[in-house]
Amino acid sequence: MTKTKIKKESFWERNKKSEGYLLKKKLTQIFISITRFILLFGLCFLILQPILNKISVSLMEEQDLYNPIVVSIPVHFTTSNYKLAAEIMNYGKAFTNSLIISLTIAILQIAVCTLVGYGFARFKFPLKKFWFAMVMLVIIIPPQVISNSLYLHFRFFDFLGIIKLITGNTLNLRGLKLPYYLMSAGCMGLKNGLYIYMIRQFFRNIPNDMEEAAYVDGCGMLRTFVRIMLPEAKPIITSCFLFAFVWQWTDGFYSNMFLGTTTLVSTSISRIVDSLGAYMQRILGAKVSISVAQSNAVLSTGTLMVVGPVIILYLFAQRQFVESISSSGIKM
């Protein structure tokens, strides 16, 4: 009894389905894509809005900021905010410093991390698991934990007591760039554990054959690495380099600790409002209180000037940033 009923029903449904089902499916699809569009549009707007807002604020004169009618398009268009922010931040100098330091640090870090990542991916050696666990540890330990000790380490720098033996005193390396370069050369810079991990992951996915062919042909290990493996790993190296550059560009932690005396965009942007006060005082010769609107405008402008180069870089190299991570196949 029941069996026939089910059979009948399904038959009846099928009869109608050739049209009804299609319509239903189409409707759900449209509904889903509209919902998706609204959701994604909202979220994208959420992420982009602060930048757009900063752009419009940075182009306004002070009176526009107080004008409740002006929301996003300035009435009194001006670029004076940029001039002011550039002067306060010492932008030209900060920009060149940041550029040089970020570039050299990124090159150094990625060069070393590539070597280490390749070592972990391609060679078998005793205690390999242990050392790799240490890489994981480096990723997990926040730099804050060792920061106080590092601070003293470089304040009273000594290498196995040699320097004290010669000069009778320890070296004060604080404020110099050397400590940070040393750390970068030892894979202990900003997020270096992560780069090692990503590069290792990439090398592991390259088939062994080419290397072995090279070994059979009598190519040495270093030469195989430079001539054969490096060109293969170009995408991941590029993307890690971009990350290293960008993160170094905006980094405040290591910059404050080691490069405190060098004018960098990242450190000067975090002080920009205080600098604005000092600047105004110097010009007007008296202590003035700065209006919220003006400091906001200068801060927005400064932020834009700091992230501007990075955004441009991202626009051009967006694929390298995103694709290489998804292709490296991160696994536990």
Binding site: R36, L40, L43, C44, L46, I47, V112, L115, V116, G119, F120, R122, F123, K124, F125, P126, V138, I140, I141, Q144, V145, I146, S147, N148, S149, L150, Y151, L152, H153, R155, F156, M183, A185, G186, C187, M188, Y215, D251, G252, F253, N256, S266, T267, I269, V292, S295, N296, L299, V306, V307, I311, Y314, F321, V322, I325, S326, G329, I330, K331, M332
Partner: protein, 303 residues
Amino acid sequence: MDKKPKHRYVGLEKRKAIAGYLFILPFIIGFAFFMVKPFFQSLYMSFNTVELGAGKFDMIWNGFGNYVYAFRTDPEYARLLTEELLRMLVYSLAIIVFSFFVALILNQKFHGRALVRAVFFLPVILSSGVMLGLESNNSLIASLQQQVEEVTTGISITDGLQTILRTTGVGVRAFEKVFEVIDNIYDVALASGMQIIIFLSGLQTIPKSMYEAADIEGCTAWESLWKITFPSISSLFLVNWIYTVVDFCMRSDNELVEKLQKVMIQNQNYGASAAMTWTYFLIVIAFIGITSLLLNKVVYYND
């Protein structure tokens, strides 16, 4: 003698082992000098009073004095610690859930997918380092924001719901946390760029045929989410969880980290700073360890 001889590295294998060590040598050196030494020194320092002198610094044994100071004398530390840890827990959960669902959406096919992906990844670059919390670091603008918030409280997304649920008075505290996260969805979105990409990379490795087979067998989308998608990328939950928690500790708008820096650089109280950092660090590590173990139980490995 021994039946199972120990693996010996000979010939090419030995050469390769040596080469391997040479390749990772920079890491070993850096690790020894800039991680192990400072790591233990910092631990030792937390039990000492550090006094700076000309050309050297002295450590005077202080026992648990610094720890006692951190919790009982310092007015802010205990409060900040609990606050930040709670915030870490809530936000990490929110970030994982958010990034998982965004990754699910971004894995579908639609027009402008590349653009949307680019936008979602933008915060990884833009909100790194000092850029995060620039507004809140700045007292002038922070006060302005407070004013704006006071004036525009009606704008809060969850406000309507909040009043309804508050009056019924069920689990008010828990609701408030949820509301806080939803109201701060901007922070969550900013912090989840990397996680979205990691989830996406996992989602792309799931073969389409699996879903098709499930579909033909009469599996609904909801079921295949739980039976196919979840197990396939469950290991990435672990990766993302660790990444998120660690990332949270390094954020520049983390008030506790600011406090630690202040104690160290302004107050020059290295011992107390070390003790504070170590308690924070140990709690975070314990937290990561326990949650990873728990997560590891549910992770499905397809090897």
